[in-house]
Symmetry: C2
Subunit: 301 residues, 2 copies
């Protein structure tokens, strides 16, 4: 009979998990228990506080639905999504490759396939901008026929999943680059927006006196055979929250600003952004994307 | 514009939470983020693994209902409930006070009030045992009229909430001690049982090759004005799992065995257990109990 004090309990749990057949599961759970217990010891967590934590996590789980993933949102506002992304980059992004950003919860498969120069604004109006550039490898060689997925909010700060019947796609599209990896497309200037504040994560963010806003941005997914999926986003320098993103998605190399009269702009009468994407080669099979269709992360029924 | 690598992201999150008005919330969330990030860095958590974790936590939250608290179960099997209990004991239990144990999810308010010597088995049969003893303070002075709540599984290993219409109470009762703090009551010998294995926590426990059993035990809550609620349990030495409780509730001082012909046994023809409970004085208002009615921890509706 072992008496388990505040340190021995940690060893006892690890011993009871020691027969886990999957070595990676064992490694992850060992570390999870050690860090969870170290956290509780550091703050001397009381029973009442522990019950509040249980109630909070329960509410986060119960706020999840086929079109909402509150646990991803929690991970986002606690910086864990950014951290996982950064570590994933470090294992496979080539030094000259474009930096990645969060996929977020609004990506959808099978966005409309559009021709170069078309607009992704099917049902929305607002100030137009053009994005153009070239997809290359990390050494600068063009990647012919790379595919670019673009999705963003409309000029009022809403994704199609938030503003329309979910069957209607808007403000998203897929473009095949030309034989030199070149692309150009038209869209609307997006607005920044608040994360959903009507759930338990929103309540927490308010209790922390955080503003809850993301700066205006355009999501980008670039794919090409033999290359690691490039999940990134372009952030607008003129957004008041570009330095205080609630979900920590911004990197300096991803900040842009549309300009009139940009050299090489393919549609000269619309303000333009030039951005070239440099892809890293796929080196292993490890590479999922951070974030995903929320409906895949909620148990059926 | 700050570029956030795998360490700078942690500081950035803490800086963004720095305006939290409640100093204890700020302290807890700072520590939670530091330990969460340290865990992810230690195991170099990949996006795919992170998504599996999100899906698991979502399933745990969605398994909670007014009669089931899967997050408490997760905390129990990861040893966190035990740890919080032990730390709470360290802040207020007097050295000679009875050790505590987990309240568990099956406590119910307003169990039937019974007279000393009555049985808590209202609708169940099985081998009978008697429990008797005295409630004292930590110095051994009797506490007159202390109240003892007792609840346990029936002889088939089920709580009333699991085997009956939830409106039916069985195998639980409340006893007022006499003027010398003495009590005796009849019950059935409980069976050990498996934690619920049909949810995500059960799946995890199976993946860890753990047996999932708790040793047979009787839950006890002793209350008296001016004393800290004593939440404990008595564990049976002859149970095969007394040294490997899946939720780490057992302490050596709480292990018992019924005996025939025990000196002082109030009902000599039934095997008896003598256990004296020593209460600690209430020293502050901090002391909730670990575990609670699960319906209080699930959002309404």
């Amino acid at each position: 009979m072992q008496d388990l004090d505040a340190h021995a309990i940690t060893d006892a749990v690890i011993a009871q998990m020691a027969a886990t057949p999957d070595p990676r599961m064992r490694e992850i759970m060992d570390a999870a228990v050690r860090h969870l217990h170290a956290f509780a010891r550091e703050v001397n967590l009381t029973p009442d506080e522990w019950l509040k934590g249980i109630a909070f996590l329960t509410a986060v789980g119960q706020a999840c639905s086929p079109i909402r993933q509150e646990f991803i949102l929690l991970s986002d506002v606690l910086g864990l999504s950014r951290l996982v992304n950064v570590m994933h980059d470090a294992t496979g992004r080539e030094a000259a490759g474009t930096e990645t950003s969060l996929l977020g919860p609004f990506f959808r498969e099978q966005a409309p396939r559009l021709a170069l120069g078309e607009t992704i604004a099917a049902h929305s109006d607002g100030p137009e901008i053009v994005i153009f550039g070239q997809v290359t490898d990390a050494a600068g060689a063009p990647i012919p026929n790379a595919v670019i997925d673009v999705w963003q909010t409309d000029a009022e700060g809403l994704y199609d999943l938030q503003s329309h019947d979910p069957s209607v796609m808007d403000m998203r599209g897929q473009f095949a680059c030309d034989g030199e990896g070149r692309f150009h497309l038209r869209t609307l200037k997006p607005l920044g927006y608040s994360i959903p504040m009507d759930g338990p994560v929103g309540t927490m963010v308010r209790q922390q006196n955080r503003h809850g806003f993301r700066p205006a941005h355009i999501h980008i997914l670039v794919t090409a055979p033999g290359y690691r999926d490039l999940v990134t986003a372009l952030y607008f320098a003129d957004d008041a929250h570009v330095d205080s993103d609630t979900v920590f998605g911004v990197s300096a190399s991803l900040v842009v600003q549309e300009k009139a009269d940009l050299p090489g702009a393919p549609i000269p009468d619309i303000p333009s952004i030039r951005y070239d994407f440099a892809m890293s080669r796929e080196t292993d099979g490890s590479g999922g994307r951070v974030g995903s269709d929320p409906s895949r992360l909620v148990p059926a029924g």
